[in-house]
């Protein structure tokens, strides 16, 4: 091993806890080069743990916990990113109307459900592949997929109705909006600003007056 590599290795040993995963891997590679021997997987794992202990002075179990946490954070972040990319710029709902604001908040709240269902599908796939609970996994996967489709379909139908000015023109939807307003209170509205209640559409012009201005 040349002098430069040895210096880097020593420097890596000294830096201790600040090691990232990549530097640990590099360190392990240097150790392998140093020994110049054929190493089995078990031995490699033992060396890795030994080197890791030397470098960080911590128990390897803790490092596994950190790794699990790291991957769960990365995974949830990826899910959120995928969902936001799927819906980016596709909504036709006007954010400047009160109904638009309320509905968009509701749709964003539904992302929690979408995340949960995507996790369900992933878990069911893993269960189906690696365990004998095939029927459970299949049921879980199909159920989650159906609900995921239902949520997306519901959002699309809602978006279409708001865009065309149909939303809120029947008893069911009027009650839905009123219940939504009652349950959430007025904290969703921009105080003091006169904004429209419904989105502009050819059928709703007569009612698209600013809120706070009596007809």
């Amino acid at each position: 091993m040349d002098k430069r590599k040895r210096e880097r290795l020593e420097k890596a040993h000294k830096s201790g806890v600040r090691f990232g995963l990549a530097s640990r891997r590099t360190l392990l590679r240097y150790v392998f080069e140093l020994e110049k021997v054929e190493i089995s997987k078990k031995l490699a794992r033992e060396i890795y743990i030994a080197v890791h202990r030397q470098a960080t002075d911590a128990k390897p179990v803790e490092s596994y916990k950190i790794r699990i946490k790291f991957f769960s954070v990365i995974f949830s972040g990826l899910l959120s990113k995928c969902i936001s990319l799927l819906d980016q710029g596709t909504f036709k709902i006007d954010k400047d109307t009160i109904i638009g604001t309320l509905i968009l908040k509701r749709i964003r709240r539904d992302y929690k459900a979408v995340q949960c269902l995507l996790l369900n599908i992933l878990c069911s796939t893993l269960l189906g592949l690696f365990t004998s609970f095939t029927s459970s996994a299949l049921g879980m996967g199909i159920g989650s997929l159906l609900f995921l489709i239902a949520i997306k379909a519901s959002h699309k139908v809602l978006e279409y109705r708001i865009d065309k000015g149909f939303y809120g023109d029947n008893e069911y939807e009027a009650r839905e909006i009123l219940q939504f307003i009652t349950s959430d209170g007025g904290n969703k509205f921009d105080k003091g600003k006169k904004i429209r209640a419904f989105q502009s559409a050819s059928e709703t012009h007569s009612l698209n007056r600013p809120v706070g201005v009596k007809a």
Binding site: R109, N120, S144, A150, E171, F189, K191, A197, L207, R209
Partner: protein, 132 residues
């Protein structure tokens, strides 16, 4: 059937059957699946009660998912937010007028929107008054 009516019924069906509260419903699905797995695991490891648990593990997963959804949506069913008395009265009058043929379908649609707009007006007014 025009698109307005069609989408109205699709939305109602999706809301009633699946996603009135999607978080509770999706958690219910997960709950049902976990319950199914737990029953299967218990039936494998608990020998004294094996006969009972084996029977339990044979329950169809769809029933357990339905149970999960029912349990988690029960709270929403009990605590449905109530709308104001004025809005309730206006809706009742509108329905009565429609059934007696005094109000046309198009007029009723506009009036429903009017009720919502008026309620939001009231809320914004009360907020502004509270601010002052």
């Amino acid at each position: 059937m025009d698109l307005n009516t069609l989408t109205k019924y699709i939305k109602m069906a999706l809301d009633l059957l699946f996603v009135k509260d999607p978080v509770a419903t999706s958690m219910g699905v997960l709950f049902g699946c976990i319950l199914h797995l737990l029953l299967a695991i218990v039936s494998l490891f608990v020998s004294p009660a094996a006969a009972v648990t084996e029977e339990l593990s044979k329950i169809n997963i769809a029933y357990l998912i339905a149970l999960g959804i029912f349990i988690l949506n029960w709270k929403n069913f009990l605590h449905r937010p109530k709308i104001s008395y004025e809005a309730e009265y206006a809706i009742a009058l509108l329905k009565q007028g429609q059934s007696e043929g005094l109000i046309s379908k198009t007029d009723a649609r506009l009036q429903y929107k009017r009720i919502v707009t008026d309620e939001i007006d009231k809320l914004v007014d009360s907020m502004n008054n509270a601010k002052e």
